[in-house]
């Protein structure tokens, strides 16, 4: 049976995304009578009242809900999909922390300034400095919070591309569920459970400009924007919007970057669509830097989505193997460069590149991973194994002589302790390449993260498009906000951003006068 997917295959039409008009049960003030983008007015009576409404159940939304509930606020936690966690729960499982206890154990020197500098450099200095600095400054505190308050478990440090040193805590769970599930458990203890299949339809702003509540659709069925039953919730203190990015929304993507159309695959879950951001704009939020949409460089055309490939391409090949342009047999980028640099390089090389390692490199890079990962990747067709370098070159049409020369140069670099070719960081246990069998994953970048979003200040307050001042009663955190990462986000910095600003948003929302 081929099931009918409701994911990326069911593209949202522009009409569906924009909605079709005002809904029953809400009196509508039509500003300028633009029927295609109605603002919801204040209802005659609210169906429900709480202190804080949190929209979205990824890292940011759950962190906001935890902090708001901890401060004594009543919380309505909304999730439009059938399952909580958004992109966070399916993400790669690494969080940056500069100057951490685990780094100290391994003798790695690091600092807040170093992380901040790395973020700014990768972000082409388009990052809003105050926001980026908050993430860097609070990175250790945030990781410690997940350990102390949530009981999250980590298995070690990983060196992510664009970071000066290994500083990313890797979750034992191997995916974002290692934080999301403890967050959900914590919330359950506090009496807060996500209301799944609940769509944010409208943010409701009063005459003074304050966001005072939301209109939602219960029993929403993604991706039908008209499905579900309308209901209103008054937020006595504030609304926190943590609705994520728009990586799975080709129409909105193409509005921001016309090159990123519907044919491109994405690592995002099918609910990563733009309707909440559109509504935020509709009530006067300012969208900043939305054209900066990141492609992940470690994905494969031989499987859909994030898949297995990054485990090998980033975890193994980037530190212990090589990335090769099959046309030339040469390396074409520092395998540990930031994501934008690497994705751009793959595309510039004609999108015909591979990541490879030998058997020893595989063993080093996959230490601590489930032992059946290799078999799964082979069974899935994403990872190919070759008995000799000649077989590998033939299978991928790589000029053998050039390939051998590339490997010889790399091995000399290993002996010298410095990567003469690309200046790549060498871990202590980096080794020469030459032990069969050889492993290959083909490379093809996929849409991964939206750097742009609602403009916010250091308190996570949304900024008004007309005045530039904070919009009272509205906080935005996580991928739905913009500015922290500038042109390109470093790996493992989304966790730090989402959890840090999610907590800030939740604390400040709960502290508002009710």
């Amino acid at each position: 049976m081929k099931s009918k997917y409701m994911g990326r295959k069911a593209r949202l039409t522009r009409r569906e995304m924009l909605g079709t008009g005002a809904l029953a049960g809400v009196s509508v003030a039509l500003a300028g009578a633009v029927e295609a983008a109605p603002r919801a007015g204040i209802p005659d009576s609210w169906d429900e009242e709480v202190d804080v409404v949190v929209v979205g159940t990824g890292f940011a939304g759950l962190a906001a809900a935890i902090e708001a509930a901890k401060a004594g606020a009543s919380v309505a936690l909304l999730e439009k999909m059938r399952t909580p966690g958004g992109n966070s729960i399916i993400s790669g499982g690494v969080i940056a922390a500069a100057g951490s206890p685990m780094q100290a154990e391994e003798g790695i020197e690091d600092s807040v300034d170093s992380l901040y500098d790395d973020m700014m450099k990768a972000g082409l200095h388009l990052n809003h400095p105050k926001l980026a600095r908050i993430v860097a400054e609070k990175s250790v505190e945030t990781v410690q919070w997940t350990i102390d308050e949530l009981g999250v478990e980590y298995r070690g440090l990983t060196h992510m591309g664009g970071h000066a040193v290994p500083r990313s805590y890797s979750l034992s769970a191997g995916s974002g569920s290692g934080i999301i599930v403890p967050q959900l458990n914590k919330l359950k203890e506090m009496g807060v459970e996500p209301r799944t299949r609940t769509l944010l339809k409208h943010l409701i702003r009063d005459a003074e400009g304050r966001v005072v509540g939301v209109q939602i659709h219960e029993k929403f069925k993604h991706p039908n924007m008209d499905s579900g039953k309308p209901k209103t919730i008054r937020a006595r203190k504030a609304v926190v919007m943590a609705t994520g990015g728009f990586g799975s929304d080709p129409d909105f993507r193409m509005l921001q970057d016309p090159r990123l159309g519907g044919d491109l695959d994405t690592t995002n879950h099918p609910g990563a669509t733009s309707e909440a951001l559109r509504e935020a704009m509709n009530i006067g939020c300012v969208l900043i830097q939305p054209s900066w949409i990141q492609l992940g460089p470690w994905t494969s055309p031989d499987e859909r989505g994030f898949g297995y490939a990054p485990h090998f391409v980033q975890g193994v090949s980037a530190s212990f193997g090589l990335w090769i342009d099959t046309l030339t047999g040469k390396r074409f980028v520092n395998e540990l460069a930031d994501r934008k640099t690497r994705a751009d390089a793959i595309l510039a090389a004609g999108n015909k590149c591979i990541a490879m390692s030998d058997a020893e490199g595989y063993a080093k890079g996959s230490a601590g991973r489930p032992t059946d990962t290799l078999d799964k990747m082979k069974a899935n067709g994403v990872l190919m194994e070759y008995a000799t370098l000649e077989d590998m070159a033939a299978a991928h049409d790589i000029p053998l002589e050039a390939l051998q020369a590339t490997i010889d140069t790399f091995n000399q670099s290993v002996d010298a302790g410095v990567d003469s070719d690309m200046k790549r960081y060498f871990p202590n246990n980096v080794g020469k390449i030459g032990t069969a069998p050889y492993y290959v994953v083909r490379l093809s970048p996929k849409i991964h993260h939206c750097m742009g979003g609602c403009g916010i200040n250091e308190k996570a307050q949304a900024l008004d498009v007309v005045t530039g001042d904070p919009i009272p009663g509205l906080y935005v955190a996580g991928e739905a906000s913009g500015g922290v990462h500038g042109a390109s986000r470093l790996g493992s910095c989304a966790y730090a951003d989402c959890l840090t600003f999610g907590r800030i948003a939740g604390q400040n929302a709960a502290a508002e006068a009710g």
């Binding site: 099931s3 997917y5 059938r82 399952t83 966690g85 729960i89 769970a173 099918p270 859909r304």
Partner: protein
């Protein structure tokens, strides 16, 4: 001789299964001891047991399910009845619409156990994905109130209702076909990705939620 519908339903809902259970326990004496229901050709492990009170029909071993299920099995009126007016009689609802392939054996009065003598689970002839799950439940005698309340509103039941019969998530993961290269009941994305209703729907076609991101292509019931 015409038997009133209600009487026939009572017959099938109670006596037939009692006979089946007796026959099964004779033919497969060990099968009722463990979790397996002992239906020939059926490899699942739903807890289908004879009630302790000596009554007839299928009830659950758990306390929470007993009351509803045994009443349902008595064929009481309203929503407590089975979905089929006559077990396996497609035309009860589908009228003249052909829902079975041409030449299919007559299904009237056939319980799921008998369907499975040909449609062996996890084999090419499996019924997985070929009919709505509420039909399968009805064919083993579980109608609306087995999962829903007796009166409106008929909300989506909690996952515990499913697990009462189907076992814990860990048990489900252990039962899942080991030849698959990913276990849909043991996702690395954690328990939220093992919510039954993420994939298995009763009243419309089930959906492979994993396939929104992966190429797994599970043949799910």
């Amino acid at each position: 001789m015409t038997i009133p519908t209600k009487l026939r339903r009572m017959f099938w809902a109670s006596g037939f299964f009692a006979v089946c259970l007796v026959l099964v326990s004779i033919c497969f004496p060990s099968s009722l001891v463990g979790q397996n229901c002992g239906i020939p050709g059926y490899t699942g492990s739903e807890q289908i047991c004879a009630p302790a009170n000596g009554g007839l029909g299928i009830v659950l071993a758990s306390d929470s399910g007993d009351r509803r299920r045994s009443r349902q099995q008595k064929g009481e009126e309203g929503h407590s009845g089975n979905a089929f007016s006559v077990l396996g009689k497609c035309s009860s609802c589908h009228l003249e619409d052909p829902v079975l392939p041409e030449g299919h054996v007559a299904t009237v009065e056939m319980p799921l156990a008998h369907c499975r003598t040909c449609h062996t689970p996890k084999r090419p002839m499996s019924l997985a994905g070929k009919m709505p799950l509420d039909h399968k439940h009805a064919l083993v005698g579980f109608g609306c109130v087995a999962c829903h309340s007796e009166e409106a509103p008929f909300e989506e039941p909690e996952m515990e209702v499913c697990l009462t019969c189907h076992g814990t998530l860990a048990q489900l993961a252990a039962r899942t076909d080991p030849s698959l290269h990913a276990n849909p009941h043991g996702s690395p994305h954690g328990a939220p990705y093992a919510e039954c209703t993420l994939c298995h729907w009763q009243h419309e076609e089930s959906e492979d939620y994993c396939a929104t991101c992966h190429d797994f292509d599970f043949a799910l019931p």
